[in-house]
């Protein structure tokens, strides 16, 4: 009996002390759901930690520190959905951030709608997410360009490049796409763009004459033999060959093309990430890649340079995919908006998120605009990058270019 009362008194004291400490500087809580077992989610989390550290070192937000709580979604939809419940009700976070895969995110949509907390989501590019979210979720902000926006932005890019370099054309495009949701969505988007281009309209209106596509099984899902597909591409003889698959496809794809003697003038890869040391591979020279960011941006953008150096200083490894600077952007953008709003009051923060502009290490200014369905879409345009002498360089948009395009591809 004595023991119990002593223990409870101690507990009471401890609880009082803790609560008084937290009263002094109750942190603003950001709740993130990332796939920690995957390189994208792992590095995103690391980059978010960097952002939070910088914010807190600069005195926090509204005089309060920021706390980042990260939950692993294990790339399983039901786990990702439960993570939202946990962050909302157990950790009582003020905002939701993070996120990668569309499959997981689709399962989170009902939970997010339930809480209606301000959500600044950085990944999940499938237009299905937009359909599921619907037009009325004014608290939902989506940073990654939607699948259909990506294809459109590259049309703009090639039009600009063709105007600047008359010898470069993209009138015949062949798209090789992995047969899952990621590849198929981008194929469908290209089909729409091609239909428009036939009438001389849309982003490809001035350049595209003929388009074809073929699917393949990604090495990530047990495939990895692209030769039949590549032979179809060879028969089509495109100016521009694009493959939309995953990082595991990158080296075998370009190598099997070499084996077959397939050398299109423009050889483009559009995976979400690239394998380690792809630049060291002799076949990488001249390979063009679609993406949001390249390490070389540190030479033209101050914030990119800052991010690159600080990330390495804090974690001891280099950021490998654009998800790292995107994760940093995710936190910083929200923090800037809270600062601008001067309060955590929902409407004020939403208003601030809609109006501020944030210069991002991704190499673009982040500004919210409506997209097809939702009213709060962040980035809409991508970048055209190229491996030149083992380095990723930006070749478009021209204002962030770190090198001229190397043309044509081939040995």
């Amino acid at each position: 009996m004595k023991k119990i009362s002593l223990a409870s008194v101690l507990l009471l004291i401890a609880a009082l002390m803790l609560s008084s400490v937290s009263l002094a500087a109750e942190p603003i809580k950001f709740g993130a759901v990332n796939p920690l077992g995957d390189i994208t989610g792992f590095q995103t989390t690391r980059a978010m930690e960097l952002a939070v550290k910088e914010i807190n070192e600069a005195g926090g937000l509204l005089g309060r520190p920021v706390e980042l709580i990260v939950v692993d979604d294990e790339m399983r939809p039901e786990i990702g959905a439960a993570a939202i419940d946990r962050l909302a009700t157990v950790d009582n976070v003020d905002f939701f951030v993070g996120g990668m895969g569309s499959g997981v995110h689709l399962a989170q949509v009902p939970a997010l709608k339930k809480y209606e907390k301000i959500t600044v989501w950085m990944g999940a590019a499938s237009h299905q997410v937009e359909i599921a979210m619907g037009p009325d979720a004014d608290w939902y902000f989506h940073l990654h360009p939607w699948d259909y926006q990506q294809g459109a932005s590259y049309g703009q890019g090639w039009t600009d490049i063709a105007n600047a370099h008359p010898e470069i054309g993209a009138s015949r495009i062949f798209l090789a796409y992995e047969e899952g949701a990621f590849g198929t969505d981008s194929y469908l988007a290209y089909l729409d763009l091609y239909e428009a281009a036939k009438d001389g309209e849309g982003p490809y209106g001035q350049i595209l004459n003929d388009f074809a596509g073929a699917s393949f099984t990604s090495a990530l899902l047990g495939g990895g033999d692209y030769r039949a597909m590549l032979r179809q591409a060879m028969d089509f003889d495109p100016d521009l060959f694009i493959w939309a698959g995953y990082d595991a496809d990158a080296v075998p794809m370009v190598a099997q093309a070499m084996e077959l003697g397939f050398e299109p003038p423009l050889f483009v890869g559009a995976p979400p990430g690239w394998p380690a040391n792809f630049g060291d591979n002799p076949l990488s020279d001249g390979v063009i890649l679609y993406g949001m960011w390249a390490p070389a941006l540190k030479e033209v953008s101050e914030i990119s340079n800052h991010f690159w150096n600080e990330y390495i200083k804090m974690h001891g490894h280099e950021p490998a995919t654009y998800f790292a600077p995107l994760g940093y952007t995710n936190i910083m953008f929200l923090a800037e908006a809270i600062k601008a709003a001067g309060t955590l009051e929902k409407d004020a923060v939403i208003e601030a998120l809609r109006t501020i502009e944030y210069e991002s290490p991704i190499g673009a200014v982040l500004k919210i605009e409506p997209s097809n369905i939702i009213s709060n879409q962040g980035f809409t345009s991508q970048k055209i990058l190229q491996y030149i002498d083992g380095e990723q360089h930006v070749i478009w948009p021209f204002e962030y270019a770190t090198s001229e395009i190397k043309y044509p591809f081939g040995r």
């Binding site: 077992g37 099984t217 990895g224 030769r227 039949a228 190598a255 003697g261 394998p275 591979n281």
Partner: protein
């Protein structure tokens, strides 16, 4: 029974050759790709079939051992500059050691617990291996690039890669080696006896537990051998080997338990089917249906025919 099986097999070989000639004329590339891929499937499936046939264990971690072999080859290449071809011996030996260790630590203790416990323990092992690799090397793919693995040649106006014919060579070598071992050596005969009837084998004085140990180690070593030759042509990532578990299981079932020769034939047949579908524009999305459709068809036909007998 044995004679009947081989007669049927000859018939199957004849059919396969005829189909190959027809396809060879119509779409020679599909034939080449099919033989190359099919042989690879077969090399990987043989050790799975061996473990399933002798120990009665369906090894769900089969593909993860393949991944371990790939990373071992990668480490030898990136740390010590060892060409993958020179890694053949060390990696095969390493995987044999890994196989023996895993056997002694885990499988050995559940041999009497029934095949379900064995299934679950190999699932646990597969999870541990793949998550361990993830935490060491992340999910970002690595690669070992060599130019010879993508060299090609032109024959009768057809240009094709030559390296993957190595898969056929290895598949035949492994198969012949296994058959010789099972028929000509003492240990092999003992292994065969254990596969037929373990209790009977132990009564006649065969050291059954050593046979199990040996077969498991040998099988994982073969997986290691396969992984070395795959490395120059694939991306290496934590899930690289995983899909091969199911493919190997499919080949083993299609060939019928205990039929090692049938695995190579089944592998090549399925490889060609897959390649033909892939060669048809718009067909590649259906290749899995063809792969598993053919598998189901073969299994069903056999079941119906045996049911009638």
């Amino acid at each position: 029974m044995l004679a009947a099986a081989s007669k049927k097999q000859y018939l199957f070989i004849a059919l396969l050759v005829i189909a190959a000639i027809v396809i060879g004329f119509w779409e020679p590339h599909a034939l080449i790709y099919g033989i190359q891929r099919g042989s690879l499937y077969a090399v990987i499936a043989l050790p799975l079939a061996l473990i399933l046939g002798i120990l009665g264990v369906l090894n769900l971690a089969h593909g993860e051992f393949l991944t371990v072999g790939m990373y071992a080859t990668f480490v030898l290449f990136s740390r010590f500059g060892v060409d993958p071809m020179l890694s053949t011996v060390p990696v095969t030996l390493l995987l044999a050691v890994v196989g023996v260790a895993v056997y002694l630590l885990t499988i050995k203790h559940v041999l009497k617990a029934g095949h379900l416990s064995q299934l679950l323990i190999t699932f646990g092992i597969s999870l541990v291996i793949s998550e361990l690799i993830k935490s060491i090397y992340t999910t970002q793919p690595r690669g070992v690039f060599t130019t010879y693995s993508y060299s090609s040649t032109t024959l009768a106006g057809i240009r094709f890669g030559t390296y993957e014919f190595l898969y056929l060579l290895i598949a035949v070598a492994v198969l012949v080696g296994l058959q010789l071992f099972l028929k000509k050596t003492r240990l092999g005969q003992a292994t065969f006896a254990v596969g037929q009837n373990p209790r009977g084998a132990s009564i006649v004085g065969i050291n059954v537990s050593f046979v199990y140990l040996f077969v498991f180690g040998l099988s994982i070593a073969i997986v290691g051998l396969a992984s070395v030759f795959m490395v120059p042509r694939v991306s290496i990532f934590p899930g690289a080997g995983t899909p091969y578990t199911m493919k190997s299981f499919a080949l083993t079932a299609m060939a019928g338990l205990g039929n090692l020769n049938g695995i190579l034939l089944a592998g090549i047949a399925l490889g060609i089917f897959e390649a033909v579908v892939n060669a048809i524009p718009g067909g590649s999305g259906w290749s899995d249906v063809v792969f598993f459709g053919v598998l189901i068809l073969v299994i069903m036909t056999r079941a119906i025919r045996e049911g009638r007998r």
